[in-house]
């Protein structure tokens, strides 16, 4: 049997790499390949474009957009990151209410934004591994105007790939919304409960 002919050194190396693989498995980014992330963004952008090309508008559009958002995006992580440290001091009930309000706000705002992509075409161009996952680059082409770049940050948690941030010509959704939520919180006197009320009508 060939297996018995493997030298000790090679057996050791094989064993060592198997051990390393076992330890590496739970770590982030190991199982998430660039190809997986590209596929995810392919499906996500397909779904987004189906929604915006459906001809729906207003609350019907936002509802569909909310579904897509819930299916692909790390809603809780995004909401938490946009709130920052005040997340910690909020009660569990407030955290839940904040996530729900934030999700509605995001669906309205980005539903509106993506609707401007109507009639354009989006294609995944490339992907590269980054610190905490994969960054997927796609190109949006409008007829008769210069194309622009949308980049998607994808990560994996508990075996599930999710979209975390998106960058349109370098402008980050999370950075933008953290700033926006921050100034809303300021105007709510730092009260999370008031911020939640504001979020419900914003976007």
């Amino acid at each position: 049997m060939p297996i018995f002919k493997v030298s000790n050194r090679r057996t050791f190396l094989a064993g060592a790499s198997a051990t390393a693989a076992t330890f590496a498995l739970p770590s982030v980014g190991f199982a998430l390949t660039k190809a997986d992330a590209e596929k995810l963004i392919d499906r996500l952008s397909d779904d987004i474009f189906k929604v915006i090309n459906s001809g729906k508008s207003g609350s019907a559009l936002y509802k569909d957009f909310d579904k897509v958002f819930g299916k692909y995006a790390a809603v809780n992580a995004i909401a938490r990151t946009c709130l920052g440290p005040p997340w910690r001091s909020a009660t569990a009930a407030q955290q839940r209410a904040y996530i729900a309000a934030f999700r509605g706000y995001l669906s309205r705002k980005y539903g509106k934004r993506f609707r401007e992509f109507i009639g354009s075409e989006i294609n995944v161009v490339s992907a590269k591994a980054v610190k905490s996952g994969v960054l997927v680059k796609s190109l949006v082409k409008f007829k008769g105007s210069a194309p622009f770049i949308v980049e998607w940050q994808v990560f994996e948690r508990n075996g599930k790939q999710q979209m975390f941030d998106l960058y349109i010509e370098g402008i980050s959704m999370i950075k933008t919304e953290r700033e926006e939520v921050g100034s809303m919180l300021d105007r709510s006197g730092g009260k999370v409960a008031k911020l939640i009320t504001r979020l419900k009508t914003a976007g």
Partner: protein, 254 residues
Amino acid sequence: MSRPVTFRQTPFLHLFRRITVLFTALCVLSACAAPVTKTAMNDPYEKSSRKVHAFNKGLDRALIGPTAKGYGFITPPVLIHMISNFSGYLGLPGQAVNNVLQADAKGFGQTLLTFTVNSLTFGLGDLASEAGITDNNADFGQTLHVWGVGQGIYHEMPILGPSTTRDTIGFVVDTAINPVNLLESSDARWAGFGFSVLDRLGDRNQYSEVIEDTLYNSDDSYIAARSLYLQNRDFKLNKGAVNEDSLEDPFADF
């Protein structure tokens, strides 16, 4: 004997061409913005910049916005595209100079190819981007960045909009090396200027929802515009890709 090309520049022209920067900054996005921490700190004149911002907003509301919409309403879309293409075409020689100054052979090749291909349409069409030739939009602010010059101070200027010290210097140099502005005929210079204004009005019209959302619906539009400008600028300096160091951490715990 042909007369030598004279290097005339009207300060007026400088000022007005700078309008374009405000629009560029406002137009590319699809989201408003937040400050990049390291850059947000460098805004020592925030108080006076905020006053300028209020002025610019008023100007957009009263003049620029309505003018852009009027332009978009009366002008056939095909013509708007042609004007936009032509304005971009006029900027290509200056872009090529910056490619050279940055020792960027690939960028220079792209610019040259874009110029050659689009010359087939006299600059009115953008065959190059339809053929998949990437445009690099090199400018002198970027050249300074490549040379190791720091960003300097963020500021907002009347009419001209958000900028940094480095980008303002870059703008002045780009205007000076733009061949259109070196033409002797003032008619030709004004025509070049006119094309770039119409180009920006077209953008202001095309992206009006997003621009107005940023300017008029943001909780703090000064911060939104600043952050939007700096993030987009960072992306351009990084040759059209998000800077990896600025990525958010999905596992951040507070």
